[in-house]
Amino acid sequence: MLCQECQKRPATLHFTKINNGEKTEVHLCEHCAGEKGDFFMFNQSPSLTINSLLAGLFNVQPSFQQEQQNKDYQANELVQCDKCGMTFSQFLKVGRFGCAHCYEVFETQLTPILRRLHGGNWKHSGKIPQRSGGTFHLKKKIDILKETLQTLVVNEEFEKAAEIRDEIRSIEKLMQEGGN
């Protein structure tokens, strides 16, 4: 296919341009693409990646926010992770954390960001690793058992409820032993 501008060189760049729902296909050689400014803009911003888009998302500041809050925000940006050295403003720029510890250091700033990314959610409610989860695993299990206990009591299934109660006790005992 020949370049549609010069009709001499082979077209190496193919664009689909959508303007007000109208689709036009454009085939150009590199030379002519360079001269046609509006296509060239793609080459000028190679850094527009998903992460810089994300960073933009984190930075959205509601317009009604007051001066004082802005100052707080600026102070926030200086918070630095003492393990990997990443500052909050660096995180905003790259959109990625430096290490696991960052999550603790940036904890307060993080919740609104996570809410925005995860449909309002900020708290994990999925799988818990067997080892790294520690006693949290057991805590979670107790929560579930307590819920079951409630339902059993409401349904007056006291025999089963007693079993569950004993199970909860034994787990609690286990946790105390683990803690010591």
Binding site: T16, N51, L54, K83, C84, M86, V94, G95, R96, F97, G98, C99, A100, Y103, E104, E107, L110, I113, L114, L117, H118, G119, G120, N121, W122, K123, H124, S125, G126, K127, I128, P129, Q130, R131, S132, G133, F136
Partner: protein
């Protein structure tokens, strides 16, 4: 290399096309992102850190007892030829990022290619399981089993509030990305896809055309995946995705029925024209190949074509990509040469298909 030999070497188990709902769902994929607690994330780690991460994972390999992991092979990116890496990318076994940018990146791969574990991509560990058809639950159980096994020997970065900690906050929590690849020619032909995409997005799911850019999906193949990874359990994420996919399957089926009823002959004509192009062309661009393969696959699903296995779309969409063509040819090919190779490969494959 003979075509048969090439095919046996290139096929992954999920390409065989047998699975529930496999007339519409090509594959189900689960990805779990995990990081090691004591190492810096790949965002900022030094080559030494990267090497250390890889070493820790290599050290655990002999300790793995889970049956499918026994024969797992480690492929280090620095040792692979660019072409070989490209083929792995085209099979969706590794990401372009791992192939090109990673420091001490590696991929652990089981012989049937059902499980692949990327090391030092955006996160230290990314476990991926691919199954044919709609089998998200099966893929999740396998991924979980692999995850549990690794966790016995490695210290994961996990936090009670935020869950599994990932480099990018879009993956935190479960670290789970579940995705299905669906073939939706009926919805595209009846122009329902453009309405469907925004409503799927509203449900917290993402739809992308794969093998294509933007809204245009090459070969009418779309990928639907979850967006939210935090605040929902793995099972709920899978359940939500599965139920949406099941509805899409129903809609696709009724679109196909309507097409067959109202313009059956036109549809049959289109299918056989595409088959004609595939069996006779000498030069074929990837876009045309994708379009014709989609038509032929639809023709097989609708019962017009009986002597071609339905795995053809799955298989040829992957095998006619530039990396594979060049591997088959045994060296670099210019774009025009690829188009010629592609046409040849498709012709030969279709002839083989008839003998199956």
């Amino acid at each position: 290399m003979s075509l048969e030999k090439f095919l046996t070497q290139s096929r992954s188990s999920w390409m065989n096309g047998n699975g529930p709902q496999s007339d519409i769902v090509l594959t189900s994929r689960i990805r779990l992102a995990r990081n090691l607690k004591n190492n810096l994330f790949p965002t900022i780690f030094t080559p030494e850190d990267a090497k250390n991460v890889l070493q820790q994972i290599e050290d655990t390999l002999p300790l793995l007892t889970l049956h499918p992991l026994k024969d797992i092979e480690i492929l280090k990116m620095e040792k692979l030829q660019p072409l070989h890496k490209r083929v792995l990318v085209e099979k969706h076994l590794i990401s372009p990022n791992l192939a090109e940018d990673s420091s001490h990146g590696a991929c652990l791969l089981t012989p049937n290619e059902e499980i692949s574990i990327m090391v030092n991509e955006e996160d230290h560990i990314r476990i991926q399981c691919i199954f044919p058809g709609l089998q998200l639950n099966e893929a999740l159980s396998l991924a979980n089993a692999v995850d549990d096994q690794l966790e016995q020997h490695l210290e994961y970065a996990f936090n009670e509030v935020r869950g599994y900690l990932t480099s990018c906050p879009t993956n935190v929590g479960t670290g789970l990305r579940a995705s299905v690849m669906v073939h939706l020619p009926g919805l595209v032909m009846t122009q329902q896809m453009s309405q469907l995409i925004p409503s799927i997005n509203q449900l917290g799911l993402v739809v992308r055309g794969i093998y294509g850019e933007g809204s245009e999906a090459l070969g009418n193949i779309f990928q639907i995946s979850n967006q939210v990874t935090l605040g929902k359990s793995e099972q709920d994420i899978i359940l939500d995705l599965t139920s949406v996919v099941e509805q899409i399957i129903e809609q696709e089926k009724s679109a196909r029925e309507v097409l067959a009823k109202t313009s059956g002959l036109q549809l049959e004509d289109r299918v056989y024209r595409s088959l004609g192009i595939l069996t006779n062309s000498r030069i074929m661009e990837s876009k045309e190949a994708a379009r014709c393969l989609s038509d032929v696959r639809l023709g097989i699903d609708m019962g017009y074509i009986k002597d071609i296995p339905k795995s053809i779309l799955n298989e040829l969409m992957i095998l006619t990509q530039p990396g594979f063509l060049q591997q088959y040819a045994g060296g670099q090919l210019r774009p025009f040469e690829r188009d010629v190779r592609r046409a040849t490969l498709i012709r030969e494959r279709l002839l083989l298909g008839k003998n199956d």
